[in-house]
């Protein structure tokens, strides 16, 4: 029976209507759970149990006091000033260098040395904006938001398509474990080498977009 898929329909409808996602998720859980024959109270209990078991997902927020403390002392202003002194630093080239560094460090297993809260907000986004501002002094708020969104995207893409080259990353271990359970024995190295072509393709595709990225949309 297809009733448990009701939750997916609820999720899609909620996102399409741009509702606040939190109640939509509860609705989706209830729809799928009830569709699978569970009592509503059992669904709430399952949700509560999983929420408690997944608390570690929210732990990284405790980095915010460090970021806030440094921002208070002018970290973002310093990051921006750094770029103003570099004549060659355009927004695109700056993000390209970050993409390369993010992919390389992730490939060495160092995924946690950067991230949206750690590096994008306090460092990369102000730098990208400052570089754009030097080229185009008449940037408007919409331009600035597009630049910041591109900085966030560059961090995600760099990490996603770098980390799988590292042997001990969770996804490689998951693949190895799944194949093993099906009787196929494969060494992690044999899996992670196959992440390299896609990593190169990601660098070329996103890198080309960055070099062609125009921080100031024609008006």
């Amino acid at each position: 029976m297809l009733w448990p898929l009701l939750g997916i329909a609820v999720l899609m409808a909620g996102f399409a209507l741009r509702l606040n996602p939190l109640p939509v998720i509860i609705g989706a859980a209830l729809a799928s759970g009830i569709g699978a024959g569970l009592q509503p109270l059992a669904v709430i209990a399952a949700l509560g149990k999983a929420f408690n078991a997944n608390r570690y997902v929210s732990v990284p927020w405790i980095i915010l006091p460090v970021i806030g403390l440094l921002e208070r002392a002018g970290l973002r202003e310093r990051a921006a000033a750094l770029v103003v002194g570099m004549a060659a630093a355009t927004t695109g080239r700056l993000l390209l260098v970050y993409l390369a560094l993010r992919q390389l460090t992730a490939a060495l297993g160092l995924t946690t040395i950067a991230g949206q809260a750690q590096t994008v907000r306090p460092l990369l986004a102000p730098m990208a904006e400052a570089a754009a501002e030097r080229q185009h002094p008449d940037l408007n708020e919409a331009d600035r938001q597009r630049i910041r969104a591109m900085a966030a995207a560059t961090d995600n893409i760099g990490m996603f398509f770098g980390e799988d080259i590292f042997l001990a990353v969770a996804s490689i271990l998951l693949i190895k474990g799944f194949l093993e359970s099906q009787g196929i024995i494969i060494a992690p190295l044999a899996l992670s080498v196959w992440a390299i072509p896609t990593a190169i393709a990601a660098f070329l595709i996103h890198g080309a977009r960055l070099l062609r990225f125009n921080p100031r949309r024609p008006r």
Partner: protein, 311 residues
């Protein structure tokens, strides 16, 4: 052994402090509801194991009620002015960047040293190092810059309130994944997808596999949830056993096809929705829109790669 209890106690204490500071802040919009939101998170971290499943479920409903109705207000505690910041940045120069390196440095050294230290839970090394790095960075920065005593917590509260309700989104989505698994959503999606493949059309089979990985990842917000489903439904029975494909290439590249889906979905809240809040974008989907033109060609590349190299 330092492990999850230590991590959750520190995180719970930080959330509790945010709750107290929110109540005490007369200028805070929707003060009591906002404080209740942070207090409930503190309760979850400090006492979640003692609440029972139903108790935790009620806690989730309360968090969703406060967050879903927009009752978590933005805090604006006293801070330095724009001019202060520019002056401080000019005076302190690039040394300001150094404390930002403490957290990643502790993470790196901790990960290398933990197996030899013995008192860190080997399964939680990353989080323990994160917590230790944060505590060290706050201590060092406070000693150097001499901000007001509460400044780390107040500045953290400013940032966390900017993210607002979205802060519980990643954890809640992970919980939804657990409910979906219990309801058997994966098996159903797998069997429906498997039925889409006509006999003898290898390229179509590869396409169903990669699009299925990306699509189901978009639904679940996580390629890890999609991988076992799509491998069991299409990857193994059709591509590996049916067409004799190389399982290493199919599995590794299939996972990366899933990652392309992660770039395209609001369900991957950590990567796509939270940064939009953190970077003060008006469009909640702004980051996703910036990723589309990279994700789609890359998905095509992954499809062609399996088709061309795995057989």
């Amino acid at each position: 052994m330092i492990g999850l209890p230590f991590i959750y106690t520190v995180a719970g204490a930080v959330f509790a402090a945010w709750a107290v500071l929110t109540v005490a802040d007369r200028a805070q919009p929707r003060r009591l509801a906002s404080a209740a939101f942070w207090a409930l998170l503190a309760l979850s971290f400090l006492a979640g194991d003692r609440l029972g499943d139903i108790g935790n479920g009620v806690l989730v409903l309360a968090l969703v009620a406060i967050g879903g109705f927009g009752l978590v207000g933005r805090a604006n505690p006293a801070t330095t002015s724009a001019d202060d910041r520019i002056a401080s940045a000019a005076r302190r120069g690039n040394r300001l960047l150094l404390p930002a390196l403490i957290v990643p440095l502790v993470a790196l050294l901790g990960t290398l040293a933990a197996p030899r230290l013995g008192f860190i839970d080997p399964k939680q090394v990353t989080l323990v190092c994160l917590v230790a790095g944060v505590l060290l960075a706050v201590a060092v920065t406070s000693l150097w810059l001499r901000p007001p005593l509460l400044a780390p917590l107040q500045e953290g509260r400013r940032l966390v309130s900017q993210i607002g309700w979205a802060i519980i989104l990643p954890q809640l989505l992970a919980s939804l994944g657990a409910v979906f698994a219990q309801a058997g959503v994966g098996q159903i999606v797998g069997s429906v997808t498997g039925g889409l493949i006509p006999d003898g059309a290898r390229f179509i089979a590869v396409l169903v596999f990669t699009l299925g990985m990306a699509g189901f990842t978009m639904v679940m917000g996580n390629a890890f949830a999609a991988f076992p489903v799509m491998m069991a439904a299409v990857g193994l029975p059709v591509l590996v056993q049916g067409y004799g494909g190389n399982p290493a290439i199919i599995a590794a590249v299939g996972m990366l096809a899933g990652f392309c889906g992660t770039l395209l979905t609001p369900m991957a809240a950590n990567y796509n929705i939270v940064p939009a809040a953190l970077l003060e974008l008006d469009d909640r989907n702004g980051v996703i829109k910036a990723q589309v033109a990279t994700a789609l060609p890359l998905l095509a590349f992954n499809t062609l790669m399996i088709w061309g190299w795995a057989f």
